[in-house]
Symmetry: C2
Subunit: 454 residues, 2 copies
């Protein structure tokens, strides 16, 4: 591993120096010797101008295509924005059509149109076909180039076909179809090797194929592939025709993307690609809306406390516990929401069986609220030598935690049922809601008890 990272930094430094010295021939030389995946990984560490220079120096369109496919979306956009449609077509010729589709989808509209016009008829049709599917569905991530053989073919013929099929990437399974292109079975390469040459595919194939529909959400596809440990899964349309395959490397990307998306949404932000952008104003513009939501929430909390200003005037100590009530509610709510959001994402929690989870979270909230409430009651009593103040603060914390645990659990569930990403539910939105309820409970209780507190 150290060797691996070391090589990375040595190459990075070498390229930086060569760019600085404008040693164009040298750079070309270095790039040619690198693995395209390593180039793709190096690129984001250069400035925008350097990225464009490096990419322009990759002469081989096969290499350029591979680099482009493997780099992240922010870098792709950078590299593509200045290309001519002709250069793009040259690169696209070396790419599977699912990757071409993904890239066309992020091109500026005018450029995308020009590129589409210049694609060959077959490619244009494949791309148009793929563009029909939303990018987060099985259809959107599938590869339409795959090896499918008729069920009546013999093993010997099949082996010949596999030898010929050099264009298809990563052949691990062979899909078997009937004359109408309906998926009928699957075979591993190894099964082909084990069978005798004259057997037909339908004699040796595995019939109980697990497949996904083009419209299935990519997260659900990822769950299925990882549950069954497949390296590829076939995609069929509503008529049962085999239309593509999804390979495990795309599944890994989906899992990473979805986890990142969840993490960012829970942290109150969004759009991985934009957060790693070179432009600070762009990053700020994307993070601000979430903060402004919080700001509005904070101002509401602030007004709420102002309504109770007479209580604070009488007993300033009450104001000092605002951070505890708010902070603890926020923490418990975030914990519960994280458990539900992640549980829903990994399939450990199922929406149809949510009752048990809700019960568990509420009961856990009771226990944790009890423990923290008692502790805070004791501390407050000792600090201000006022047992009634301790009681008010402790009871409020108990309820604030209970409410936060309940809301933290129910909100993601509700959001999911409404078709909104549940991860959003544990961001600033719910934290703010918890703050307001917590403060409301606290100051209401304090007002009720005020005559005894003084």
């Amino acid at each position: 591993m150290e060797a691996h990272r070391q090589k990375f930094f040595v190459t990075l430094e070498a390229l930086r120096k060569l760019i600085h010295r404008q040693a164009i021939a040298h750079i070309r030389n270095v790039l040619q010797k690198l693995n395209p995946k390593d180039i793709a990984h190096l690129l984001p560490h250069f400035s925008r101008e350097e990225q464009r220079l490096l990419f322009a120096l990759i002469d081989d369109p096969v290499l350029a295509a591979e680099v482009l496919r493997e780099t992240d979306q922010a870098t792709q956009q950078e590299l593509l924005s200045r290309q001519t449609p002709e250069k793009l077509i040259e690169i696209f010729r070396e790419m599977p059509s699912d990757d071409v589709t993904d890239i066309i989808a992020i091109l500026p509209e005018e450029l995308a149109k020009q590129v589409l016009e210049r694609l060959s008829a077959q490619e244009a049709q494949e791309v148009a076909e793929l563009l029909k599917y939303p990018s987060d569905t099985a259809g959107g991530i599938m590869n339409p180039d795959f090896l499918a053989l008729p069920e009546t073919m013999t093993v010997e013929e099949a082996i010949r076909e596999v030898r010929k099929a050099s264009e298809v990437e990563m052949v691990f399974y062979i899909y078997v179809v009937d004359e109408k292109n309906h998926l009928r079975g699957v075979l591993s390469l190894r099964q082909l090797l084990l069978a005798s040459p004259e057997q037909t595919l339908q004699e040796i194939m595995w019939r109980d194929v697990i497949k996904v529909n083009v419209a299935m959400d990519q997260e659900e596809v990822a769950r299925i592939v990882s549950r069954y440990n497949f390296v590829a899964i076939p995609v069929v349309n509503d008529e049962g025709e085999l239309v593509g395959i999804i390979t495990v490397d795309d599944i890994i990307d989906v899992i990473r993307e979805e986890a990142t998306e969840d993490i960012f949404r829970m942290a109150g932000t969004d759009e991985e690609e934009l957060l790693f952008s070179h432009s600070i104003l762009r990053v700020a513009r994307f993070r601000l809306p979430w903060l402004l939501t919080s700001l509005v929430g904070g101002i509401i909390s602030s007004e709420l406390i102002w309504r109770f200003n007479f209580v604070i005037r009488d007993l300033v100590a009450l104001a000092t516990f605002i951070p505890v009530i708010m902070g603890m509610g926020g923490n418990v709510g975030t914990q519960s929401a994280a458990i539900v959001v992640r549980g829903l994402a990994t399939g450990r929690i199922d929406l149809a069986l949510i009752g048990r989870t809700i019960r568990r979270e509420v009961c856990t909230g009771l226990v944790m609220g009890g423990v923290c409430g008692v502790l805070l009651a004791l501390v407050a009593t000792l600090l201000h030598w006022n047992p009634l103040l301790g009681l008010v603060v402790g009871v409020s914390l108990f309820f604030a935690i209970l409410v936060a645990a309940t809301m933290g659990t129910l909100m993601p569930v509700l959001f999911r049922k409404l078709g909104i990403d549940p991860a959003i539910a544990s961001g600033p939105f719910v934290t703010t809601a918890n703050d307001i309820t917590g403060l409301l409970i606290y100051f209401s209780l304090a007002t009720l008890m005020l005559s005894y507190l003084l």
Copy 2:
């Protein structure tokens, strides 16, 4: 997809009814017909007693082994705790030794000892070998059963070997070694099919094998496998000997686990397995330490505010902005920390090149602090008709956001450098630190300006 989920619920309901009716023969029948991976996925939705009953009714040790391997750790522990060592040995015989090792690692100590004594000499040695590696390293997740062939072997002989190697799961690549078992090259099954029978493996193999060391962290392994789109990667020891392979299904588990761990740690909790446990007290016991950290932090904030009680007494409106200053600092800090934590995890941010990220986050903090500060200043001025109060509140918010963005970025970096999981840095610990700094800035500024504020 709907068909898939529907089948899941129908089976779940059917099994529940059968258990209720104690229809043992029927249950056996249903279980035999199910895919072991589906059983593994169903089990967590039953009560502990039902889980044990169902597992006991799986007579076939091959099926039992497969179910056990595929279910989650909480369920594994439940199922294993009541087994005899004899029954376990029977099941372990049907499992690859890396899975046996993982399970032995979670058995109660006494039972683990009894099982280890009863394993065959070869198995015991393999398990002992694997137990040496920490479970989160390449050595800990690798499978020691793989197909390695000598470089002098011919293609014809190699195909014969592949046919024989039925025990080895998922043969996609064939690793080529020299007489000292040093890894020399790699071949895909397809390359074998393409070559002529009399060629030797060293003539056709790919020599530039990307491999990982047994000691490499599993997250790093996952990054390499996903960068190069492999379906398996070879593991070598310090002497360069091939000792195991890691397949992509294990990589997917690693990616999921690490993402879940990050999410939970950022939300201020830990240990996925315990959070989904059936026992509320156990869940509460695991979530409480994080909350108590926050509670202590909250009490410190509370004491801090108390030090400024004279300011609040003079101007109660000041107390009402505590939630805004705290909440906004918390949000910005969480955003920045999430970006850094996730960037480090996915490899988009490299520790050696952290300078750019820090600059970007600090500058973004300046912009966001500026915007939010001005807005809050205006709102506070209007609400309390006091421009100086507005100024104090706005300037404090600006600094609170700037500090939070900076700390949210630096803390995960610092934690990583200290060898602590950076995700912890964005949990309650850092939120609390941000709360305290935010409040300190706010009340110090208010005290300074107090004579003008009234």
